[in-house]
Each structure stands twice: as structure tokens, then as C-alpha cells.
Symmetry: C2
Subunit: 292 residues, 2 copies
């Protein structure tokens, strides 16, 4: 069994990007610039955004964090998005979700120019991805594929079973794994809450991608010997042994599944760190104009 | 075994749309208006476009057919698309593919305003569909789902196996069949040319959607008893018994598969006629402003 080290891989990606930033700066005087908008005081959102900004600083990107009180109007927020859309100095823009209830997230996300949509949430980026065209791929699916690629896990002709059909993980990762490319060219099955016989299907899988958000859902009897197991789950659970009082649980019962698997991602330290690295990767693509 | 009659179903849809046009005309003085652009002299394309125009006339839509010689420049064609984009009198625009080699089809397709993209080829419509938002669904996937719906075939929790991963049939139909809706909520597997054990997988299917374009690929030993079989294949083959000298063959070996199936679509007369009806359906949505 090989433990897929997402933390180390993400670190490697950040190093590669830091090198690229240096070269870019020497050649053009410019560095990638990510703007992030945070609305309200949600502590988790606050932490996520600050981590993203810190990631940028660490590898030499410029970053701009724009904070608004929770009572900002949809119009004001849209006006800011439009201002950043027009700002030639800013390459990528993310708006931290969730937004307060009086703001329609969709309206804001769709207002971001596809060229700056480094979160890959805009329908045009999802549609381009589905058509096999250059696109910003959302952070988590991108992170999953990058792990598969860097560990040189074969995917062509393999049976990949994805558990979960969310529009930011399950659905895009299933599209990517079946497209004509590497990683990809897999036979892909998408299971979800309406699938009556999930175990029967996951037992056929060469690669299982668990992205349903139910702690320790995937048990040893559900995977075949030698399967590749990618755990996208990150559910917060109370854990008195941690200083913070909570821990993260994946969708995979790691202790019993790992001995059967050929490759497996842990939680934490698997897909999670890759998600943050993917945002940096997409921001570099934006700065280089590599997609549009 | 129930034979799914696509010809009759398409006829029914046309009648329903014709009724809707009458009401629309009485209430607003307006009828749906489809514009079609045809470049060059390809006889098959010529036939398709003329059929689409004829369909419009039959049910009371307005239609405009714009023909160009094969040597029209990309710029001129783009200018025309832009003109129609701005024309408030035209609800839907299709550009018949394939286009001559000196024109990048993608550039033209993507230039059509998403609001008028009744073929559902624009990435934004595919992305919206993937996100479960209102969108123009491409004609063939839409036709497949409409048949399933009108024959009240259960899909929730069923295993649907799609053979083929094209961006206009296999991929979108697989996304639609797994989304939270009816038809949908199925466990979906996408097989393709790289799948080593297709028969093993199709034998598990409650619903098989064959869209690979290989005549009579799906044989009786590949389906389980009682399966629903949807045949999207329409390969032209020589057939001296036909006046035209050719006939259409589906991806399913109909004679041997039909006795085992609970529902099956024939070729011709199954999915084919539905494709044309779907275009009319999307054009009505455009005229009503139902999507955007």
C-alpha cells in the first residue's frame, strides 16, 4: 500500500509555482495576482480565505483581500466584482462561499469573468471542461487528478467509481476521469444517495473516489483488493483529543480500507491540501493567459 | 416488450407546440422564429437544414434559412452571427455543422448568444446543465430523456449504462441521467472505446443508452432480461433494397435484443425523429424566454 501524501505533493506544487513566479517576475516584472472577497464574519470562511492569501504570499503572488460586512447589498457586491473584472492588474478573483442569504451566490459567481474564474465555478468553465477544451477546473477535482498524475496511477481502461454527484466535486471529477486524456480514459460510474447497491458497485472499482461527505462511509467490505482509494470527504467532527476540539473525518474508514488498497489518500493530508494548491495553479494559468 | 415509437412521440410534441404557437400568436402577435445558417453544398447538411426549416413551417414557427458559399470567410460568418444575436425578432440560431475546414466551428458556435443557442452546443449551456440549472439541452440527449419521460420509464435508483462519451450525446446524457430529477437519479456508468469489458458492464444495466456509432454493436448476450434499450446510433450503410441506395443502422442488433428488452427504440423511428422535435422545443423555450 502506498500512502498518497497530499501535503507533500501540494508543497512540491507550491515550490514549482514559486520558481515560475521568479522567472515571470524577471521576464515581465509582473507576478500573479489573486483577489479574494469575503463577506461577513463566518469563522470557517475567515480561516479559509486567510489561508489562501497566506499561500499566495508564501510563493510570491500578489493578493488582495476585500472584506465586507454581512449586510452588504447584492448590488454593491456585483459592482465590486465588475470593478475587479475590469482591473487589468488582477488575474484571478474568488468570492468565498457561502454568502449571506440575501445574496444569490449564483448571481455573484456568474458575474465573475470566466477568464478570472480561478475557482472554476462559472458554467462556461464547466462546459468547456465537459467539451474537453482548456478550462479552469474546480480546485478539488483538479487536486484529485493531480495526485493521480503525480503518483503515476494508471487510469486508462480502469473502472473508476465516484460516490457523490455534487457540481463541484462528483460530477466534474467523473467527467474528467472519462475524457480522452491522462488522467482519464476510465470507465466511470457515478453513485449517489439514490443508488441502492453502492457496495456491489464499489467492489468492482479499480479506483474509488469518495465524495459524499459521510464520515467513514466506505468500509473494507466495499472495496476490492488492490483498489486505489481517493478520499475527498472532510467532515468536521468533535474530537476532544484535539486542541481545537474538533477533527476532520474522511468518507473512508481508513484503518480497515488501507490494508486492502494499492494507493490511498489520508484525511487530513490527502486531497485537502491539494485543493488549496489547485487555486494557486489556476491563478498562475490566469496570469499566463493559458486558458483564454 | 414495448416498442418506443419516436416518430409518433415527435409528432405529438409537434402538435403540442403547434397548439402553443396558436395561443402565443393570439396573445402576443408573435411566433417563435428560428434562423439557420448553412455553409456550402454538402447534400446531407442541405437535407438536414431543409427538414428543420420544414418542421418550423409545419407547426407555425417563422424560419429564416441563410445560405453561404463554401468560401465565405470566418469573419463574414461571425458578422452574420453577431447580426442575428442582436436581432430581437429571432429567437433561436443554429449553424449547421460541419463547416468548411478554413472555419473554426468552435469559434462560430461559441459566438452564438447562449440565449439563442437552441442547439445547446455553447459551453455555458452545457455547464448550466451540469450544474442542474435551466439550460438548452442538446437535441439528442433531450430527445432521449423525453422518450423515457413520455413512456414513464422509471429511472431513480436504476443502473444506466451509456456507451459513448461524445460531447453532444454520451457525456450530456450521462450527466442528465444522474442529476436529481426525473428522468435522472440513476446510477450512471459511461463506457467507451477504452473500456475493456463493455459486455460485463452492459449486462448489469437496467437501462442501456447506446451512442457509439457502431452498427449492431449491442448484441443479445450484452443485455439482461427486461432491460430498457435506447439506440442513438444512426450509421448510414449501403442498402440496395432502398430506393436511395442506403439505409440507417442503429448501434443495437435489434432483432436479437428486442425480445429480451422491456422497452426498446427502433432505428429509424426511435431517437432520430425526437432530435428534430427537440430543436423545435428549445426554440419555443427561447421564444418564451424560459431559460434566461
Amino acid at each position: 500500500m502506498t500512502l498518497i501524501d497530499g501535503k507533500q505533493t501540494a508543497q512540491k506544487i507550491r515550490q514549482e509555482l514559486a520558481e515560475e513566479v521568479k522567472t515571470m517576475k524577471q521576464q515581465t516584472g509582473k507576478v500573479p495576482h489573486l483577489a479574494a472577497i469575503l463577506v461577513g464574519e463566518d469563522p470557517a470562511s475567515d480561516t479559509y480565505v486567510r489561508m489562501k492569501v497566506k499561500d499566495c504570499e508564501q510563493i510570491g503572488y500578489q493578493s488582495t483581500l476585500i472584506r465586507y460586512d454581512a449586510d452588504i447589498s447584492e448590488e454593491e457586491l456585483l459592482a465590486k466584482v465588475e470593478e475587479i473584472n475590469q482591473d487589468k492588474d488582477i488575474d484571478g478573483l474568488i468570492v468565498q462561499l457561502p454568502l449571506p442569504n440575501h445574496i444569490t451566490s449564483e448571481k455573484i459567481t456568474f458575474a465573475i469573468r470566466p477568464e478570472k474564474d480561478v475557482d472554476g465555478f462559472h458554467p462556461i468553465n464547466i462546459g468547456r471542461m465537459a467539451k474537453g477544451l482548456p478550462a479552469y477546473v474546480c480546485a478539488t477535482p483538479h487536486g484529485v487528478l493531480e495526485l493521480i498524475k503525480r503518483y503515476e496511477i494508471p487510469t486508462s481502461g480502469k473502472h473508476c467509481v465516484v460516490i457523490g454527484r455534487s457540481d463541484i466535486v462528483g460530477t466534474p471529477v467523473s467527467i474528467l476521469m472519462s475524457r480522452k486524456a491522462y488522467p482519464g480514459n476510465a470507465t466511470v460510474t457515478v453513485c449517489h444517495s439514490r443508488t441502492p447497491n453502492i457496495a456491489e458497485i464499489t467492489r468492482q472499482a479499480d479506483i474509488v473516489i469518495a465524495a459524499l461527505g459521510k464520515p467513514e462511509f466506505l468500509t473494507a467490505d466495499m472495496v476490492k483488493d488492490g483498489a486505489v482509494v481517493i478520499d475527498v470527504g472532510t467532515t468536521r467532527v468533535e474530537d476532544s483529543s484535539k486542541k481545537s476540539g474538533f477533527g476532520l473525518r474522511g468518507d473512508v474508514k481508513f484503518d480497515e480500507v488501507s490494508p486492502k488498497s494499492s494507493y490511498i489518500t489520508p484525511v487530513p493530508g490527502g486531497v485537502g491540501p491539494m485543493t488549496r494548491a489547485s487555486l494557486l495553479y489556476n491563478t498562475m494559468l490566469a496570469a499566463k493567459g493559458a486558458i483564454y
